[in-house]
Amino acid sequence: MWSYEKRLQFPIKIKRPNAAAAKVIISQYGGPDGELGASMRYLSQRYTMPYRNVAGLLTDIGTEELAHLEMVSAIVYQLTCDLSVDEIKKEGFDAYFVDHTTGVWPQAAGGVPFDALCFASKGDAITDLHEDMAAEQKARTTYDNIIRLVDDPDVLAPIGFLREREIVHFQRFGEALEKVKDHLDHRNFYAFNPEFDK
């Protein structure tokens, strides 16, 4: 069960519409390293994670990613809600507009629809935590790239916040990986899979 709070994790108040920025930022909603994939990745992996502290971390980071998904969607919404048709055409938002108007829909910047294949739930604690650490770094790179492409401070503040969270999550997943290893055979970490071999 989740309990909804009527607030964003970090405030978003964007004054100027900007379709070109929305077009690239939407990738962090439905793209390969976006927040939708992040939340589904951790919330899927947690069921078979045999250590309660690590399952707790997956639950808590997965929950925070839902709040990030809401933040990215709010950024896209505020960047596109007051656009004119002329601006939509001029800023290259027409290809998105024809299918979705200004409705928020999960896709990558290049137009590829969200695909569950962009995240893994492999059922192996070592494999999944390495996936999670890599995912946080890939999301951090994507935010770095967005920061290169956008210059509105109203947009950069929440994007900078989200980028920093990727680094914190990477750190916590690294600590979780060490905790998992404590339970394994130190001569051969791959001797058994704690999620399957009981």
């Binding site: 309990s3 909804y4 709070e5 009527k6 607030r7 964003l8 994790q9 970090f10 405030p11 978003i12 108040k13 964007i14 502290n53 707790g56 971390l57 808590d60 980071i61 925070e64 809401e70 969607s73 709010a74 919404y77 505020q78 809600c81 914190v168 999550h169 916590r172 600590e175 979780a176 905790k179």
Partner: protein, 83 residues
């Protein structure tokens, strides 16, 4: 900044501090400094949320209600520019 805005701003800040410490405690469950900070923030947050809910309306849906009109859907949603 009016009182409602400053109350809301404090809730966002205190909640985020708790979000950060919660993840830290998941991997450092016996860290006394973090445990005591989380405990202190939880008390602050409860008081702030109670004050905000009484004067401006519910933040959490379990706190929604109303004597003659449902107050959950009256305030702006968080993604609105007016929020």
């Amino acid at each position: 900044m009016n009182e409602a805005n400053s109350l809301f701003d404090s809730i966002v800040k205190v909640s985020f501090a708790m979000d950060e410490i919660r993840l830290f405690l998941d991997t450092h469950p016996q860290d006394e400094e973090a445990l005591s900070a989380y405990d202190k923030l939880r008390g602050q947050r409860e008081a702030l949320v109670r004050r905000y809910t009484e004067s401006c309306g519910p933040i959490n849906f379990y706190d929604a209600g109303g004597s003659c009109e449902w107050n959950w859907v009256q305030q702006p949603w968080p993604w609105e520019k007016e929020a």
